[in-house]
Symmetry: none
Subunit: 178 residues, 4 copies
DNA sequence: AATGAATGAGGTTTCATTCAT
DNA sequence: AATGAATGAAACCTCATTCAT
């Protein structure tokens, strides 16, 4: 059993059964190991949780994302959407998102991470819309305003695993494409 | 001590200290009462929580909201915004919102309530935008799309107590007012 | 089960089985009660121990002791000896003495109490010897010096339950009686 | 890492942090080694402790001590005092003394060792006082009695690291020197 | 000579709950 | 209407020890 295996299982429990079901007993049992063994790898339950945060903060929140703006608007938007959907449906990331959504009201770190996650979507949205607008492919006047609205919608749908997100994005394209 | 007093204090703890800090001990102590006394009023902790849900589902989620569309668009939107802000900043409601946000990943009822809450905002937004659009006061073509985006943004800002919500709404008005 | 009963049993365990055998499990079992019940009466194990200290500090260390110096030297010394022996053989006090002797190297409070206990013996010894000396019944020149030596010997014998303490005191009287 | 290094560090922990802080984990960590490594050198924690006892019983308690009684009383006493102070302040011995003082109520071996240690002081004191008395340099009649008192005082002061021990011995000399 | 990994036993504490009063 | 007292279950954690490598 490695640190990573423990973290993975801990994440799985948090996402599938809920944060408050993550107990050292449950974790040990799920790993087919005795409780005490967990303490060989981690000093405390808290350390496990902090490591989960760290792991994902260093990964998910620092993902870079490049778009080829020479492509048509359809393609640009589809690419972005795929990118986001992949991020949010990725097994590992979904653990993190579940964690911070459950803990954001209680744990300042989670709260900050929720903010960062939203900001990631918003800033990427703005970059895309800005570019498309500048290249006169979008009939949008107030880009920052539109970006905020677009990002909010996308963010909410991603977090809630709302499957109609594709439909929304296509609608958006249709409506604002010049 | 009444059922209501217990519920109020339980809500306060959930909102101010977090759901997992709501223990029968903490609740009793906060009420200046012994633990056992709580069981005179409620059969279990679960009953307290379910009652909290019920109380707010019957109140907050069924709030009706009427707008006087004879007023100018500014006034209509301002009124709606005030209405929403009042709802979300209301002490009692903030308890509920905090509860469902903390429990939505774990508790199906909370998940459903989060959905309902969002829907409330969305349907009211749509009604307003629809009306303003029909009366030609808004330059919006696709009202459902715009409503979704508007509602998502407003909802996120309300939940996060983002104080720039006024600014957002005014920007929106400026941009889409004919 | 009362607080006092718990304290009594805790003391008994410390004295008879050793400080490190005082566990909440052992204590509960000895009292015919479940572990959790102890926490109704005390917030923590530490609280039990501090209460043991307090109980005895307020009792044993503040014992007043009056001697009738009109009696003969034999009687005065016998009385003092009985007084001390009673104190040290008293069941409750022996618990405290055992506690502080076991903890004095680890726990500052115990260390201070050991000091106080010795001082009690020393100051009472000095008072007695001083009086007997002033009334010319003792052939002692340097009373403080002699008191210190006498008190040290008595203290060590009391703590170690050395049964030859009577013999020592009688020897002392014989030797220094005018 | 040698057996001796382990014993030294174990002793250091006992003296500086207290017997109950001596855990195999703490010991290993202090030695910059993994827990399991300790079991290469010792079969058990108990073996470490027994070895500590043995080591010091064979050393400290069997120390011989010779005095040159041709010197003046001042010198004889000063020499004895230095001898004792050196023993008790010696780093290695202080470990042992701390150990037996902490364990004497719990561990019979410690109890016996405390007795032996005291006896060492007492018998050496008696030898000195006897000699000085026989050679008419002390105005002491009952040497055994005086020795016991002197030894008790010295012992207590040594164990408690009472720095006024010099003052006490000088007072004693002044008072009983012929 | 050392250690990575695991573990059984047991430690303190918290929790929701019960029940006689 | 309230509570004093108790409790089973389970939480987190520590400890000495083992064993294959």
């Amino acid at each position: 059993m490695t640190r990573t295996e423990i973290l993975t299982e801990a994440g799985r429990i948090i996402r599938d059964e809920g944060y408050d079901r993550l107990t050292m007993s449950a974790l040990a049992q799920a790993l087919g190991v005795r409780k005490a063994s967990l303490y060989y790898h981690f000093q405390s339950k808290e350390e496990i949780i902090q490591e989960l945060y760290e792991h994902f903060e260093n990964g998910l929140l620092h993902l870079s994302f490049s778009v080829d703006f020479s492509k048509s608007m359809d393609v640009v938007m589809s690419t972005a959407l795929s990118h986001w959907k992949n991020i949010f449906s990725d097994k590992e990331n979904s653990v993190f998102i579940s964690l911070i959504e459950q803990r954001k009201e209680t744990d300042e770190r989670a709260w900050a991470d929720v903010g960062s996650l939203y900001l990631m979507i918003e800033s990427q949205s703005e970059a895309i819309l800005e570019n498309l607008s500048v290249s006169s492919r979008l009939k949008i006047m107030n880009v920052p305003l539109m970006s905020k609205m677009f990002a909010s919608t996308v963010y909410l749908m991603l977090v809630n695993e709302d499957e109609s997100i594709d439909q929304f994005v296509y609608s958006f394209i249709e409506n604002f494409l010049k």
